[in-house]
C-alpha cells in the first residue's frame, strides 16, 4: 500500500495516468507541490506534478460557490433536450456518479478516448479474443509483436517493466526475447534489450496495415499467395514472421488502438485477434491491447456492470440504449444534436472539451485554460493526488487503490456529480 515514508514522502504510489498502473513511484509533497523522485516518466511526472492554480468554481466566468455551480448544472440539465456526459477522465466513484446522473437525467454517456477504445470493443462484441495481462507478459513472452503502435511514446515504462525485467518465473533468459515492430518504427530505444539487442522493424504505412495483417494471418494459416509484396513488405519477410509466431511458445501481439488511427481500424484489430486465435490451435499466443489512460478502462467497466453496456449509451428513454454510432458524442456534437455537454477531465489539463454549440460544463483539473469560457467550470481534484480512489489499468483486470497525497480541498468528481443528481 502507498505509505508515508517520512513527512511529505510517499512510496509505492500507483499512477492513474500511465495505463499500465506503475505503482512503484516515490513522490515528495511540499504544501501543494508534488515531485516524482523515483520511477517517474514523462507521463507520470506531468500527471503528478501539474500545479494547482484556480480552486473556485465559475459560472459564466464569474467565481461562485460550489453549491451555486451545482445548481446551475442541474438547471442546464433540466432545460436540456439532450445532455451528453463525456470526457469522463475520472476514477471508480466518479464513474459511478456519472452513470447515476446519466440515468436520472436521461443523458448520454461517452468517454474522451472512445474513438480508440471502440476499435477494440467492436471486435469483442463481434468475435471476441484471446488476451493476456501484464504479469503474464513479464514472465512468459518470448516473441513480442508490436502492431502499428509506438508503444514507448504512450507507455514509456512498458518495456522496462514488462519486457526487460531482471527476474522471470520460468528461468527464461530475457535476452532471448524478440521484439518485432510491424508498421511504425519505435521512436526511441525502450525496446532494445539490456544487452543491446535491437527490435526488428518491418516498416509499412498505417494505410497498408489492413492488407499486411490480412496477409500475415493468411500465411499463418498456410494459405498460398500469388503476390510477392504487400504494402512494400516482401511476402518472404511476412512468411518468416508467420513461422516465428508459430514456433514461439508464448507470443504476445500488442497494439494501442488509439495509435491505429485509420478508417475502420477495428477490422484490422479483428484480423489480429482472429490471427491470435488461429495460432492457439497449436501453440500459445495472446493479444494485449494497450490503453487504460484517462480512466477509459475504469469508466467502461463501471458502465458495463451498471447498465450492461460500455459507454456510448443513452438513457433518453429511461433505460440504457447502446449504440456505438448514434451515441458517439463527437458525432453528436459535430451534428449539433447536443444542447448540454458535461465534460469531466480530472487527470490532464490539456484534455479540453471539443468545440461545439452546446452549453458546456467542465469538471476539470485545476490549471485548465479555455479558448471559450464554459458555462460552468468546477476545478475538481485529481484521483490519487487530491483524493483517494480506485482505477483500472489497461488489461481491465487489475485495479489499483489511489491515495490522497495532499490536502487541496478540491471536491472530487463523485462529490460534484452526486450533488447534481441530488438537486436534479
Amino acid at each position: 500500500m502507498t505509505e508515508r515514508l517520512d513527512e511529505g514522502v510517499w512510496q509505492e504510489v500507483p499512477s492513474p495516468f500511465c495505463g499500465i498502473a506503475s505503482d512503484d513511484l516515490t513522490i515528495s509533497v511540499t504544501g501543494l507541490k508534488l515531485s516524482v523522485t523515483e520511477n517517474g516518466d514523462p507521463v507520470t511526472v506531468k500527471g503528478f506534478e501539474a500545479p494547482i492554480s484556480e480552486t473556485a468554481p465559475r459560472v459564466d466566468g464569474q467565481e461562485t460557490s460550489l453549491a451555486k455551480a451545482v445548481q446551475r448544472i442541474a438547471e442546464l440539465m433540466r432545460d436540456s433536450q439532450q445532455t451528453v456526459i463525456s470526457g469522463l477522465a475520472t476514477d471508480l466513484n466518479g464513474a459511478r456518479a456519472a452513470m447515476a446522473l446519466a440515468d436520472k437525467g436521461r443523458a448520454t454517456v461517452d468517454h474522451m478516448n472512445s474513438t480508440g477504445v471502440f476499435r477494440n470493443f467492436l471486435v469483442l462484441q463481434d468475435t471476441g479474443w484471446m488476451n493476456t495481462t501484464l504479469a503474464e507478459v513479464k514472465n512468459r513472452v518470448d516473441l513480442l509483436l508490436v502492431v502499428g503502435s509506438d508503444i514507448e511514446a504512450g507507455f514509456p515504462r512498458f518495456f522496462e517493466r514488462m519486457v526487460w525485467p531482471k527476474d522471470t518465473l520460468f528461468g527464461q533468459d530475457i535476452e532471448s526475447r524478440d521484439v518485432i515492430y510491424l508498421g511504425k518504427a519505435p521512436s526511441g530505444d525502450a525496446s532494445t534489450s539490456p544487452k543491446g539487442k535491437k527490435a526488428q522493424v518491418i516498416r509499412c504505412d498505417d494505410a497498408d496495415l489492413p492488407e499486411v495483417i490480412s496477409v500475415l494471418r493468411a500465411l499463418i494459416n498456410g494459405r498460398e499467395l500469388q503476390a510477392e509484396q504487400v504494402g512494400g513488405i516482401a511476402i518472404s519477410a511476412l512468411s518468416d514472421l508467420a513461422e516465428r509466431l508459430k514456433a514461439a511458445k508464448y507470443s504476445v501481439v500488442t497494439w494501442s488502438a488509439a495509435m491505429l488511427d485509420f478508417d475502420h481500424a477495428e477490422a484490422t484489430v479483428q484480423t489480429l485477434c482472429e490471427m491470435v486465435k488461429d495460432l492457439n490451435s497449436e501453440t500459445r499466443s495472446s493479444g494485449l491491447p494497450l490503453g487504460g489512460k484517462d480512466g477509459d478502462t475504469t469508466v467502461n467497466q463501471v458502465a458495463a456492470w451498471q447498465s450492461g453496456y460500455p459507454v456510448r449509451t443513452n438513457f433518453n428513454r429511461g433505460y440504457p440504449d447502446y449504440d456505438p454510432y448514434l451515441s458517439d458524442s463527437l458525432r453528436m456534437l459535430a451534428e449539433d444534436e447536443v444542447d448540454t455537454l458535461i465534460w469531466v477531465s480530472s487527470f490532464d489539463i490539456d484534455r479540453l472539451p471539443p468545440n461545439s454549440s452546446a452549453k458546456t460544463v467542465v469538471l476539470g483539473r485545476s490549471g485548465m485554460s479555455f479558448e471559450q469560457e464554459p458555462a460552468v467550470f468546477i476545478p475538481v481534484g485529481t484521483p490519487g493526488v487530491d483524493h483517494a480512489g480506485r482505477a483500472f489499468r489497461t488489461d481491465s483486470v487489475v485495479s489499483i487503490p489511489l491515495r490522497q497525497l495532499r490536502d487541496s480541498g478540491l471536491p472530487s468528481t463523485f462529490e460534484v456529480l452526486s450533488a447534481v443528481e441530488q438537486v436534479l
Partner: protein
C-alpha cells in the same frame, strides 16, 4: 420498533421446524423472542402463508472480470430485456448477464437475500467487490480462486510444508476479503499457459510436476486446518468432457475424507455409452455422494435457451470454443494467478446432448438422498440465468410437470435416461433446506438461513400454490434485515446488504517472501494488492460481516 409476523406456516429446517404455525418477532433487523407483555408496534398478518428464511444462492456469478466481459460482449442479449428506471430503481438490463443493479432487484423479488460469487481471482478481487457493492439488497461474498496461481504451485513443487500453504491460503482469503476458497480445474488453468490442453487428476503440470490430485489435497487440508467453514469449493478436472464421471468419482474418493464441495456436478457426470458416446453418469455419481458424507454438491442445472458461460477454466472454455453461440468468445491468461473464458451458449431441447444434460442434472437432484448436501444452482449464468430458479423448483416438486417437459425433449435422449421413472418430489421442507438452512451452513453464515432468535431477519413469505413456479416467482413479502423490501412480488424499498467474510489466522512472517515475490515477478506491489476493510465500506453503503471460524488445527 417491534414487528410481529403473525400465524405463518414456518419452514425452518435449522430448528427442525416443518410447517408449524408460529409467530415471528423482529426488532432492529434481528429475530427476537416474543415480548413478555405481548406488546408490539406493527403486525403483518401472514396467516396461512408459507414462511421461510431468505433464500441463499451459494454459487452465482454476479461480479468480477469475466462477468463484466460477458456483459460487454452481449449487447444483443441485453436488448431483449432492458429495464427502465423507476422512482425506486435504477435502469439496467436482465437475462443472461444482468447489470448489478437489476440482478440485486430480481434476486430480492424472488425471495433471495444473499448470493455468493464463486470465482474471485485474487488479483481481480477488488473488481468483484466493486460490482457486488453495486448489487442492491442481497448480502454477498465470494470464494477466492487458488490452485493455478504460480505462487502455490512453486510452493508445492518445492515441497513446502502444509503450514506454509495454510498461511498463504489464510493470507489470500483475508486480503481478498473472501469467505471461502475455490479451485477451478486444479492446476489446469496454469497448464494451459504451458500449452497443455487437458489435465487429468493424476497428470502432471509440465513445468511444476504437480498434479490436480495433490493440489486438491493440499488446499482441502488447508481449508480444514484453518477452520474455514466452507469446504474447499471444487470445479473439477475435465469439465464437459464425455467420460468425465470417472474423474469425478476418483476426485471424490481421492480427497481422503476431507470436506469438499463439488460444484456444478452436472457438468462432471458424463459417461460415454450409447450411439452418441454421451450418457448419464448421474446414478453412479449420486451413489458416491450418498456414500461419502464429506462431500457436498451443487448441481449447475441447465435449462433451455440462450445464456452465456463465464468460467475461470480457460483451458476447457478454449476447448469448447467451437460451440459458442453466437460465434464469439473470449479467453484470458491472467496475471500468473488464473484465467477465464467466456462463451455465449444456447441450450437446445432438440439437441441430444443438451437434453441429456438437463436430465442428468435432474437425476442428480432426485438421486442424492440428503438435501443438506445438495444445493440448487444453475451455476448462473452458465447453465441458465438465476431467474429460472422458480421453474427449476417446480421441476423438482412436481413429477407430472417434470415428465410432461421431459416428453418434449430429444427422443433419443429420453431413451437414455431413467428420469421418467423417478417418483421423488421435493417437499417444501427439503427446498427450504437446499436454499436456506443447508446453504447457510455450507457457506458458513452463522446468522443467516434460519429463523431462530438472534438470526438476521431475512424472511420470505409465500402464498402456497400448487404451481410451485408461480409460488416461488413472486413472494408476498420479503424482509431484508427486518425491512420489508418486497410486497406482493414488487420491490418497495432498496437496501444494501453486507459482505460476508472470514478472517483466518496466519503467521505474518509469510509477507516477507510474498513481498519479494510481488516485487520480482508481479506488476503491482503487495501492499496495493490488499483490499482494505474501508474499500468494502466504501461510500458508507457497504459493510463487512466477519463470520465465525470452526475449530481448526492440524489434522
Amino acid at each position: 420498533m417491534l414487528m410481529k409476523l403473525t400465524g405463518g406456516r414456518v419452514y425452518d429446517p435449522a430448528q427442525s421446524v416443518n410447517n408449524e404455525v408460529r409467530d415471528i418477532y423482529v426488532r432492529e433487523g434481528r429475530i427476537v423472542k416474543a415480548p413478555s407483555d405481548g406488546q408490539y408496534d406493527q403486525e403483518v398478518d401472514v396467516r396461512g402463508k408459507v414462511v421461510m428464511a431468505g433464500a441463499i444462492d451459494m454459487h452465482t456469478h454476479i461480479g468480477g472480470g469475466k462477468v463484466n466481459i460477458a456483459r460487454t460482449m452481449l449487447p444483443e442479449d441485453h436488448a431483449a430485456d432492458v429495464v427502465a428506471r423507476t422512482e425506486l430503481m435504477r435502469s439496467g438490463c436482465g437475462h443472461a448477464a444482468p447489470s448489478t443493479l437489476t440482478a440485486g432487484y430480481r434476486y430480492a423479488e424472488m425471495g433471495y437475500t444473499a448470493g455468493f460469487e464463486p470465482a474471485i481471482l485474487p488479483i481481480n478481487a477488488r473488481q468483484a467487490h466493486m460490482e457486488m457493492h453495486d448489487t442492491p439488497i442481497i448480502d454477498k461474498g465470494g470464494y477466492v480462486m487458488l490452485g493455478s496461481d504460480d505462487y502455490l504451485l512453486r510452493m508445492m513443487a518445492a515441497n513446502d510444508d502444509q503450514e506454509s500453504i495454510n498461511n498463504y491460503v489464510a493470507w489470500t482469503i483475508t486480503h481478498s476479503q473472501a469467505i471461502g476458497v475455490k479451485v477451478v480445474n486444479p492446476g489446469g488453468i496454469n497448464a494451459f499457459k504451458f500449452n497443455q490442453r487437458k489435465l487429468d487428476l493424476d497428470e502432471k503440470n509440465s513445468f511444476y510436476g504437480v498434479t490436480p490430485r495433490e493440489i486438491l489435497l493440499r488446499l482441502a487440508r488447508a481449508v480444514k486446518e484453518l477452520g474455514i467453514p466452507h469446504p474447499l469449493h471444487v470445479h473439477g478436472c475435465n469439465l464437459g468432457v464425455p467420460g468425465n464421471m470417472n474423474t469425478t468419482l476418483d476426485t471424490i474418493t481421492g480427497i481422503d475424507g476431507l470436506p469438499m464441495h463439488m460444484t456444478h456436478i452436472q457438468f462432471h457426470s458424463y459417461g460415454t455409452e450409447g450411439d452418441f458416446k454421451f450418457s448419464s453418469g448421474a446414478a453412479e455419481i449420486a451413489e458416491a455422494i450418498n456414500r461419502n458424507k464429506n462431500i457436498t454438491v451443487d448441481v449447475g442445472q441447465i435449462l433451455f435457451g440462450q445464456t452465456v458461460t463465464a468460467s475461470g477454466d480457460s483451458m476447457m472454455q478454449h476447448a469448447a470454443h467451437s460451440h459458442a453461440h453466437p460465434n464469439k468468445w473470449v479467453t484470458m491468461d491472467i496475471e500468473c494467478d488464473a484465467g477465464c473464458g467466456v462463451l455465449p451458449f444456447k441450450y437446445k431441447d432438440q439437441s441430444y446432448v443438451n437434453a441429456l444434460q438437463w436430465m442428468i442434472g435432474l437425476e442428480t437432484f432426485l438421486l442424492v438422498d440428503d438435501p443438506w448436501r445438495i444445493f440448487l444452482t444453475t451455476d448462473h449464468p452458465n447453465g441458465a440465468p438465476f431467474t429460472s430458479y422458480p421453474h427449476l423448483i417446480r421441476l423438482l416438486m412436481d413429477k407430472t410437470f417434470r415428465n410432461e417437459t421431459l416428453s418434449k425433449l430429444h427422443p433419443e435422449a429420453q431413451k437414455a435416461s431413467h428420469l421418467a421413472s423417478i417418483d421423488r418430489e421435493y417437499s417444501l421442507y427439503e427446498i427450504a433446506i437446499m436454499t436456506r438452512a443447508g446453504a447457510a451452513k455450507l457457506v458458513g453464515l452463522a446468522d443467516r438461513g434460519h429463523l431462530g432468535v438472534g438470526g438476521a431477519a431475512d424472511i420470505t413469505v409465500y402464498t402456497d400454490d400448487a404451481d410451485r413456479e408461480k409460488m416461488f416467482s413472486s413472494p408476498d413479502y420479503v424482509f431484508k434485515d427486518g425491512r420489508m423490501v418486497v410486497e406482493d412480488g414488487d420491490l418497495i424499498d432498496v437496501t444494501w446488504g453486507t459482505t460476508h467474510v472470514v478472517k483466518p489466522e496466519y503467521d505474518r512472517s509469510i509477507e516477507k517472501s510474498l513481498k519479494g515475490y510481488f516485487d520480482k515477478y508481479l506488476t503491482m506491489k503487495m501492499g496495493n494488492f490488499k483490499i482494505s476493510d474501508d474499500e468494502i465500506v466504501d461510500d458508507g453503503r457497504g459493510s463487512l460481516t466477519i463470520q465465525p471460524l470452526h475449530k481448526g488445527g492440524p489434522i
